[in-house]
Symmetry: C2
Subunit: 286 residues, 2 copies
């Protein structure tokens, strides 16, 4: 639907008592949803744990303006203070976790603590070490650097250069999956016969987009364009590379994901679903 | 406050029309908050975009049980279908974004689209390339592997081995910061005089915890314990290493964060605050 009217401009102030990850993730989901109607500018304040800091923030917000405070602070006293202060300057405050916390507390018939616990993450427990181990494993097995304990991986991602193997691997690692990734290089046979445990995933992309990505990349590194660089971006070579990779994927019955115009999160979601279909589980690291 | 009563056991079914990142992040915040009162077991279904998939999921949930469906699906028809089905089997469904979406739509006086846009991420736009570039930069500048364009980094993290430099760097990269990190090795002088742009951060940790982390790490790699390995974990050596690092931090006036018993997100939040104090901005990548 074409929207010819002007977008509404809103300043979104994100306030968190911890890292701001939750409030930023929620803002991202919301901003994408309203992007045709609202033009949002976001500002972030993490680690807000005192009335003084709340005062500092509010002194920077224009009263009665198109501003919204979206927050995840859990301390009930601080929340009430923030709400009151926002009201007094005519600015809407939204507690991002309100309905989830209320409905859950009602359901379980538990009390919402007076002083919610700010920045309450699981600390130095088994899950913490697991998280770090998964990230380190994924880092170590990035881009085929280390291949010896690849059978410890949950997922092995294959693809030619610049098909976003590394960012996808790291995103999946943050979500709890041990990932290795291996570049497919034209003419070099990947020996996949010993790989038993990991679920294999092949990434492909349109030759035109890959060429564009590689040009961008070279520009951002200020490399001199010489013969080698020409080959790297040249479209016919890219097509040959991609065909070679597709041939390997088909020969080894590897499911293929086309990453053209997809965000990392979307590619990761498809990989997670393929993994779950094969292993019968989703991994969750809370 | 000591809680001697038994915890309430709840099964939490997380349903998303996209990667499940938002709903998992919200579940994490909530689970931590209620962990003294509720023992939660989480199950995840990403990429849920049809009534058939909703039916499949609900067939796995025990009716009238201590189960909650927490979801971020945006398609209004699918949401109503899920809510109706959950009601019919006596299971509570919570739309995690409800109050934020409603309040925002009211405020801006915009319509909530009938068919919300599932998995709506920013695609192949400037932000996408920026995100990938930041991650690649951070990967390339991990553990001092590449140091030549370190002045392009926003943040340079320093610390002895196993002070979680890599996971912290990657977490910060996901949040929009270009990060390099450099190990401090006892007796080797780090030449920091040419570093202009990045904000320097020194990580330290208690010797006891570092020793424990290193032992865990060696065990998980099944390394044989020999003389070299002994030195790696031995507490006196660790103390000497940490003192050496602290001396470098002090000499170069580098702010120090003690990461003992802190989650990556907490350390990252402190780094983000130090960065913002020096540069006058928080980076936000939506």
């Amino acid at each position: 639907m074409l929207n010819l009217t002007e977008k509404i401009k809103i300043k979104l102030y994100l306030i968190s008592d911890a890292s701001g990850e939750t409030v930023t993730t929620i803002a991202k989901a919301i901003a994408a949803q309203f992007e045709e109607q609202i033009e949002m500018t976001e500002y972030l304040w993490p680690l807000v744990r005192s009335k003084n800091t709340v005062n500092d923030i509010l002194s920077e917000i224009e009263p009665n303006s198109n501003s919204i405070v979206l927050y995840t602070m859990l301390d009930v006293k601080l929340r009430l203070y923030l709400e009151k202060k926002c009201k007094s300057i005519g600015v809407l405050a939204i507690f991002a976790l309100e309905n989830v916390i209320n409905e859950l507390a009602n359901f379980a018939n538990v009390e919402i603590k007076h002083g919610g616990i700010p920045g309450k993450y699981k600390k130095l427990d088994a899950n913490y070490y697991k998280r770090i181990d998964i990230l380190n494993f994924t880092l170590q097995h990035d881009d085929g650097h280390d291949f010896k304990d690849v059978n410890e991986a949950d997922i092995l991602i294959l693809g030619v250069s610049r098909t976003s193997k590394s960012p996808t691997s790291l995103y999946l690692a943050q979500r709890g999956y041990k990932v290795a990734n291996l570049p497919i290089i034209n003419g070099i046979e990947a020996n996949l016969s010993d790989i038993k445990k990991p679920v294999l995933i092949g990434l492909t992309i349109s030759a035109e987009i890959l060429s564009q990505i590689r040009s961008n990349r070279l520009n951002s590194y200020n490399l001199n364009v010489n013969k080698e660089v020409d080959n790297y971006t040249e479209i016919e070579n890219i097509k040959a590379e991609l065909s070679y990779a597709l041939e390997i994927f088909r020969k080894n019955k590897i499911p293929i994901i086309d990453v053209s115009r997809k965000a990392i999160e979307e590619v990761a979601a498809e990989i997670i679903n393929i993994y779950a279909a094969k292993k019968g589980e989703y991994k969750i690291l809370l």
